[in-house]
Point group: C2
Chain length 316, copies 2
């Protein structure tokens, strides 16, 4: 084996699947090891200049990967690898473009479930009761999307498909053509008062921590529903529980939490009008993620700049 | 009042709402009475040359409306007014174009509920159980749409939005650009074997009666889900119950039934993997239906041909 050959370690719960896909592609100058086991990975990582895998499994290896040049995450979010004590002397790339359609399905699903009263009807059906309570429609309703990156843009596109009014909240960007009206920093108060659905797609950064707190719930219309598909850190969870009990908002659909799995004793479980979906909105499909690595690997060996590079300072 | 003035009777559960909308529009040469009461309508109808309303409420008046020239239904389907014993000496118009987006929301809602395992997760949540069972996606799945009129076309458009493969079953027509592959009469067997979702949007006619029967359920893939938003008469209900119990198909979402409300003792209630939505998929919103009447009335007084005329022979 020539000494300049790249050495890739795959460390993922889907390691076998990724290995098979990468082998099928005959990637040039690449020697691959793959494991789903952390202990085994610890032995292998010291020789690898490239790591591909699940950030939670990679985290304990990070300081042992002496030759690491580039790490490709299988997740959109890479929080386990960020923070003041984490090394930053390598290229870290995330995944974009594949979670948008999936998360958009999730968001539209839960907005439609709310409009069509699916759960109420399910409960009626159990008691053999014909329930012809009139459903609502998404047409003409407003959705406020916090964070309009590739995922937020896809949610906006689906919302427009169903005739909704779309508002976007971003720092500065206003480039998505599926957003009817943009709100930027300083106009957050205004943004949260004009919506029937508030969809959070924000990454976990110091500036988004507990951004959705009690004053926000007070400002939101009482018929509004919160949907969080970003990160659990964005929501002040105890204020949300209070807001649901006091009817400040009409419901919440949460996919992400400060602590996961959400502990059984957590007060969110018992809050009214809450839907808890256990971090399943944007599942990783190896068939979707593998092409991101393959494209980036071909760029890596040509010394081109990689797609979806994480900025360690901005943390996304 | 000049004798040539048109006399409209509104007979609908939403009579007051329609009356207010039509009055706001100051329709020319039109005298309007409105009621939600059948007995009162019986008195009023003999003077009316135009009736606008709900077909079930109009049915008992039909033979008493001696001066009837035109009847505009508030429903898409007009079955109560069709049949060998019903009069056909007047213009009968239905409603199109407004139910498509609503029924499309309903169909996408229930396909997404199935993919995202909303009901299973709801049950897990009740027992405080974190359920991160992987969801499915609509992307790449096949939907077969039976009946590709304005409603079927809108369902196809939404299915394409989510990256589905769309097959359409029609008598002859193949004009909808959102249908990837058309199947026509004689190829029904083929049509039902290639889908994950079978969506029925068929009207109630002799040729659609019990069209979805035991051999169809046997031919459908075992992972397929039936969604019926057309008419209850299309489904052989006892075969459906058997197919669900025996796992011939994965589920059924039914909005319409041979008898409505579905009687509490009906075997459909207890069938596994069934969702019963009590004829709510295409609710009538007066704000949507009123403009259809208004446009047609302006055509009527100009003696132009009316939109959405029902062909009494074809029964739709």
């Amino acid at each position: 084996m020539p000494p300049d050959k790249n050495k890739l370690l795959i460390i993922s719960t889907n390691a076998e699947k990724y290995l098979a896909i990468f082998r099928d592609h005959n990637l040039p100058d690449l020697q691959i090891s793959a494991t789903a086991d952390s202990a085994e990975a610890l032995d292998l990582c010291s020789h690898s200049n490239i790591i591909f895998g699940d950030p939670d499994l990679i985290k304990p290896l990070l300081n042992h990967a002496a030759k690491l040049e580039w790490m490709q995450s299988t997740w959109a979010g890479v929080e386990p690898l960020l923070g003041p004590t984490c090394r930053t002397d390598y290229l870290l790339t995330g995944v974009k473009g594949i979670f948008g359609p999936l998360i958009s399905e999730y968001v539209l699903c839960h907005m439609l479930v709310h409009e069509k009263k699916v759960i109420e009807r399910y409960e009626s059906q159990k008691s053999l009761r014909w329930n012809d309570m009139k459903p609502g429609t998404l047409r003409g309703k407003s959705v406020g999307i916090m964070g309009v990156g590739s995922i937020g843009a896809d949610i906006a596109r689906s919302a427009k498909h169903f005739g909704m009014i779309t508002n976007g909240y971003t720092r500065k960007d206003s480039s998505c053509r599926y957003i009817d009206t943009y709100f930027h920093e300083g106009r957050f108060d205004k943004f949260v008062t004009q919506l029937e659905y508030l969809v959070c797609v924000l990454p976990n950064t110091p500036s988004t921590s507990n951004l959705i707190d009690w004053p926000v719930f007070k400002a939101m219309p009482k018929n509004a529903v919160l949907i969080n598909v970003g990160r659990g850190s964005t929501i002040d969870e105890s204020s949300l529980v209070k807001a649901l009990w006091e009817g400040e908002i009409a419901g919440a659909v949460l996919d992400v939490f400060k602590e996961e799995p959400l502990p059984p004793e957590h007060s969110l479980w018992g809050a009214p009008n809450i839907t808890i979906t256990s971090h399943t909105a944007g599942p990783t499909f190896p068939e979707g993620v593998a092409p991101v690595f393959i494209r980036n690997y071909l760029k890596f060996i040509r010394q081109e700049s990689l797609d979806y590079l994480i900025d360690f300072k901005r943390q996304y």
